[in-house]
Amino acid sequence: MSLKEHHPDVVDDVGVTEDGLDGDAIADLLGDNVIGREQHINAPGFVIRPDAVEDVLRTLKQEAGFDHLSCLTGQQYSDRYESIYHMRKYDDPTHEVSIVVPSPRDDPHNQSAASVYDTAIWQEREAYDLVGIDYDDHPDLRRILLPDTWQGHPLTDDFNQDQPQVVSLRKHANPLEQDTNHPDDPDTMLVNIGPHHPATHGVLHLKTVLDGEQVASVEPDIGYLHRCEEQMCQNGTYRHQIMPYPDRWDYISAGMLNEWAYARAAEDLADIEVPEYAQVIRTMAAEQSRIAAHMLALATFALDVYGDFTAIFQYAMRDREETIKLLEDLSGQRIMFNYFRLGGVAWDLPEPREEYFETCREFLAGLPDKLDEYHDLLTSNEIFQMRTVDTGILPPERAKEYGATGPVARGSGIDYDLRRDDPYGYYDELDWNVVTEEGCDNFSRVLVRMREVEESARIIEQCVDLLEEWPEDEREIQANVPRTLRPDPDTEIYRAVEAAKGELGIYIRSDGTDKPARFKIRSPCFCNLQTLEEMAEGEYIPDLIAALGSLDIVLGEVDR
């Protein structure tokens, strides 16, 4: 398989034809395990037997090249539960299949995929937590976002929202009393890093078992920032009420990118054509957002390795401010943009346009010098290299197992970028490169982000040129979209964009009303965070912190 993965041209993966994926060939491959066929907008769907999940997924992974379990959606119908495994390929993410696993309404359970993909461990825990599907043979089926004491599963229609939740608070209990030792090894010590800790980038709790200064095991405990984003989106109407929410997932100024994830999914679902002019504006805004997000990632990583609000942190914040100002001019907001609309953007570029282009160009012209300064201060600093090179190793095979995407995957040499591989917006018309680094370590991940800033700058530059030349009478920023959007009933779609942290996907199922019946967010940070154990175990505490910093997680997006 490894040969095939590296040479996509010579792969004779099952079902790959010139026109795309041939569902029949895949159905043949899966044989008796398929009990029905569906057609999702993005991919063919195969309904399989609940006890054949492992078998089917392993076959698809090993024989058809679907090495990326992108997302797992659990949902409840009036007569059954359903788990949908959205699978695609790292080599060509346009090759997608949806594996639909139905399970009975009275006792929802089906086989677990955890033995095939490591990323399924967390994703199935989430489906169990929120929807209540039991996964047989799952190694560690516990709640992941909600507290262990939570009663019921909130994304089911029989969930009683008014019932009191029992959270046992033992007064004056010393939480450290019981855990001084790891049960297997009396020489170890459990340290709770977080939820209040300077380096957890939000409210993250790492249950870390230390052997001296070394990390024996680390288990991220998430959910402190769970804000029911999926359910809130299910309660909003497609047209206007959902768009403000994506800004709040990855709230580190990556709002434009998040909005695009929803816009792309909903537009494809409702078959809305976006005017080209609006696509160029979107592309430009998204890349400005990406620069701002990567600058902050750089700043906080420097903070983790340097230890104080040092020069790099402040410099990066200063330079991020410039992109934020550009975005503020464009959208009227600094962080929570709410600038995208289904079918276009909220408004045209700010007047006078020349002034805006001028500011953009000034920023772009100054950027190379600034990046040089970062390279001087950071990447060419020998102590920095001592700290980051060959620490937090994430080999590409393991990264794929965990469904890692974005700079984390590209820092491990995985050439995967949805902007190029599954084009949307105006990206395929522009001249830019996907950045990868082969080091698989903390240093590579930082370097990838810094080089991506350069590529984003190239994209913005080309967009500015295009926008400046755009004929005045063709500046159409918004397609004609009905006031109330009601996509066809029983249509399903999973669409993803390349957000700042990786593949930000959204699954929407429509039931014919003006609100989604199921709205599932595939968060890149959620999947990337799962790789922390892989990177940190056996390393020293400082490397655990550096690895966490290099993942660049935002808890708002992890917990949603």
Partner: protein
């Protein structure tokens, strides 16, 4: 150049007999109080106000500028703020040790100043083993760190305490050995003698300071001193992003002030040692009375260096730090010591 220690000078000025044990005892206490107060004032200005201004300058910010001229009254505001905070004593702390930790740290750094000749006759005592005494005092702080780390009943404090010991062991030896190479040059452990040995010119306008005589030793000492005072790249005992605040995690209010104070005093003591044994002590142009000014300038230069390192240099990992100490610095400091001995032996 040699002048009597400060208590004797004061006794003479007051017309008292400096040989009388009670007189000299009282005078020593007064002199110590004066110097300690001056030091605290120095810390107040440079620790509360100066640190902010310096770091801000390095990191492209403005820092305090609203309270009083140049924001100087922030010192008063901060003092009130820090002292009026609630002193939180966590459950299960080992009381006498937990209380003593910060006190020992402050005591050790202030006591070190007793033998430092600051110019203009400001030196409380001038024992023949002055350099040994000051090193001994400076490293007593480690005891305080361990007490604070162990007694806090907090895992971060515990880790910080362990790191502090490991770090001090790894760097104290190179520090002392490099200091010993100066002793070989000067032929004395007495602080005033070491200062006196640096008078005169080495080459044209360059004074005969040991920093110029042996720049290698000076560099080693500066690096070891960064570790000794726990500043980047060697701030592992506190390492805010790793172990929260290390040994000082559980200290609040007055105890935090003491911990903070001891850090700055320690930096100044390090600066004072460097100024004395490498930078000619109070030597400088102008009349001898200006010596104390030059001395303060030198201490501030070392302080500035530590703040610069803090703003610009990443922190090394604990194992890397131990490695640098035991495998690099220790070897280099032995090499330096032997070379110095050979050179001095051949020359003299």
């Amino acid at each position: 150049m040699q002048s009597a220690p400060l208590p004797e000078t004061m006794a003479n000025l007051l017309g008292l007999d400096p040989e009388g044990p009670i007189v000299i005892f009282v005078m020593a206490i007064i002199a110590s109080a004066v110097i300690a107060s001056a030091l605290l004032g120095l810390v107040a200005v440079s620790g509360i106000w100066g640190k902010r201004k310096i770091t801000a300058a390095f990191t492209d910010r403005i820092a305090v500028n609203r309270v009083g001229p140049f924001g100087l009254l922030i010192i008063v505001a901060d003092a009130v703020r820090l002292l009026s905070k609630e002193l939180i004593i966590p459950d299960g702390v080992d009381r006498p040790a937990w209380d003593l930790g910060p006190l020992i740290m402050v005591f050790s750094s202030i006591a070190g100043f007793a033998v430092i000749p600051m110019g203009a006759g400001v030196q409380i005592a001038d024992p023949e083993v002055g350099l040994v005494y000051v090193f001994a005092m400076a490293s007593t702080a480690s005891v305080g760190l361990v007490m604070a780390g162990y007694a806090s009943n907090n895992k971060y404090s515990f880790l910080g305490g362990l790191r502090a010991v490991a770090q001090n062991l790894a760097y104290e030896i190179p520090l002392v050995l490099t200091g010993a190479s100066v002793v070989i040059f000067a032929g004395s452990l007495q602080m005033s003698e070491i200062v006196a040995a640096q008078q005169g010119s080495l080459l044209g306008p360059i004074p005969q300071w040991y920093a110029f005589v042996n720049p290698f030793a000076f560099g080693l000492f500066m690096v070891a001193n960064l570790a000794e005072v726990g500043r980047n790249p060697f701030d592992v005992p506190e390492a805010p992003t790793e172990i929260v605040a290390g040994w000082q995690t559980e200290y609040s209010s007055v105890y935090f002030v003491l911990a903070y104070l001891s850090e700055f005093l320690h930096i100044f003591l390090g600066g004072a040692i460097i100024a004395t044994i490498f930078l000619g002590g109070p030597a400088g142009p102008g009349p001898a009375i200006l010596g104390i000014v030059w001395f303060l300038v030198k201490i501030m230069a070392v302080y500035l260096f530590t703040q610069w390192a803090r703003s610009a240099v990443p922190r090394v990992r604990i194992d890397q730090m131990i490695e640098i100490g035991w495998k690099g610095m220790l070897v280099l400091s032995f090499v330096n010591l032997v070379l110095t001995a050979v050179i001095v032996g051949v020359m003299v």
